[in-house]
Amino acid sequence: MTYLELMGFGPTGWGPAMLRAAGMTVVVAVLGFLAGAVFGSLAAWAKLSRVRPLRWLADGYTTLLRGVPDLLVIYLFYFGGSAALSAVARMLGGQGFVGVPALLTGALALGAISGAYQAEVYRGAFLALARGELEAARAVGMPPALMFRRIVAPQVLRYAIPGLGNVWQLVLKESALISVTGLVELLRQSQIGSGSTREPFPFYLTAAALYLAITTVSTYGFGWLETRSMRGVRRA
């Protein structure tokens, strides 16, 4: 079979399956990135807090998640996740098992991993804020919530964009590891295809090309965001 027949859109072609799988890769990466934003901002807040146990907790989280292979973290979520959920359900009087869909497990695992990296990005961005602006906000009597919304959040996000771009690329590539949980994303689909046709090379090559396309598009996307967010900033 030629490459075009194999990856084509004919009755025995794997083209549609590969494209669908690429879509799944983007979906799981986006969900993982968003979950990581939640974990990451919580951890950043804890790291900046004056309460010592909170700081320890957040430091423990980032050290652990950045020091342990992501494959292990994914397995932990995959096998440990629904066992834990089932135990909770039983405690609440429910019965049987609570299954967690592979997509949710994958997104949460990616979220936990990327959260550890995002925490550092947010913390760095917060520290880059001009102290005077915070003092000024306090001086005009802004309550903390309003100060967060008007002063802190918009600027932290602006400073965080380059770092977040890096984390996004990381998440996108880490999403390939989710294939071990059986979620049919790009790499998993390539494994299925190469096992079935015994032609691994075209499948992995195509997967690599699709990943490259996704990362390239997102590099441009983040570049555009960065320029846009810096419109109001005077450049030296």
């Binding site: 652990l64 950045r66 020091g67 342990v68 292979p69 440990g80 996108l172 691994p200």
Partner: protein
């Protein structure tokens, strides 16, 4: 939690440690050398050198390592007759060399950018000063650019080594019996995923803490001029560690 079981698991996992360390060590070393070459290529002004280096970095940083591992191991396996004709099959036949190749190429792409950034960060004034003293290119590289760039690159390189240690776990997927492989096997035998992964995770964490500490020590040792003057003479050189 069953401590006896955890202890037993930990010992079983240690059997994979030498392979994990070997993979991490060699790939950081080979990848580092390749990275230096790539960084110098992309800093040269010659397009025939700049573009291949950039393309390499682009491709290897833009695709997941696991895809690279599969492409090298199973993908190239498809071309055995050709590779045999070229006389390189003995190399790609072994899962170990395939894993090492993938890890080295991958880390080279990331490290090349770190090294390039570090070299570019050397203040121009210092290079000018070196030239003004009549230093040749090699002396300049050895005395001025090298040491400053090395110090500059260390924090980022420390992260890269840590991620390489973590990345060796992917070798488990192509039949190499390192720590993660043994962990997977134990799970299949005992079905106790959480405990086993806590044990395996702690092994990686310990390696990475050791790596980070060692590089922090190196950084400290390399930047005496950035430290405050000691109040009293230091007791011994061992204080640096």
């Amino acid at each position: 939690m069953d401590l006896a079981f955890m202890a037993e698991t930990w010992l079983a996992l240690l059997a994979g440690l030498p392979l994990t360390l070997r993979l991490a060590g060699w790939s950081v070393l080979c990848g580092g050398v390749l990275a230096l070459v790539l960084a110098l290529m992309s800093l040269s002004r010659h397009p025939a050198l700049v573009w291949p280096a950039r393309a390499f970095v682009f491709v290897f940083r833009g695709t997941p390592l696991l895809v690279q591992v599969f492409l090298i191991y199973y993908g190239l396996g498809q071309f055995r007759p050709t590779l045999q004709a070229w006389g390189v099959w003995w190399f790609f036949r072994e899962a170990y060399w395939c894993a090492l190749t993938a890890l080295s190429l991958n880390t080279a792409a990331y490290a090349a950018e770190i090294i390039r950034g570090a070299i570019l960060s050397v203040p121009y004034g210092q290079i000018e000063a070196g030239r003004a003293c009549g230093m040749g290119r090699l002396t300049l590289a050895r005395r001025i650019v090298g040491p400053i760039a090395l110090r500059q690159a260390l924090p980022a390189y420390s992260n890269e080594i840590v991620s390489m240690v973590k990345a060796t776990s992917l070798a488990s997927i192509i039949t190499l019996a390192e720590v993660t492989f043994i962990a997977q096997k134990l799970i299949a035998q005992t079905f106790r995923a959480v405990e086993i992964f806590i044990c395996a995770g702690s092994i990686y964490l310990l390696i990475n803490i050791a790596v980070t500490r060692a590089i922090l020590g190196l950084e400290y040792w390399l930047s005496p001029h950035l430290r405050a003057a000691p109040r009293e003479p230091p007791a011994s050189e061992a204080a640096h560690a």
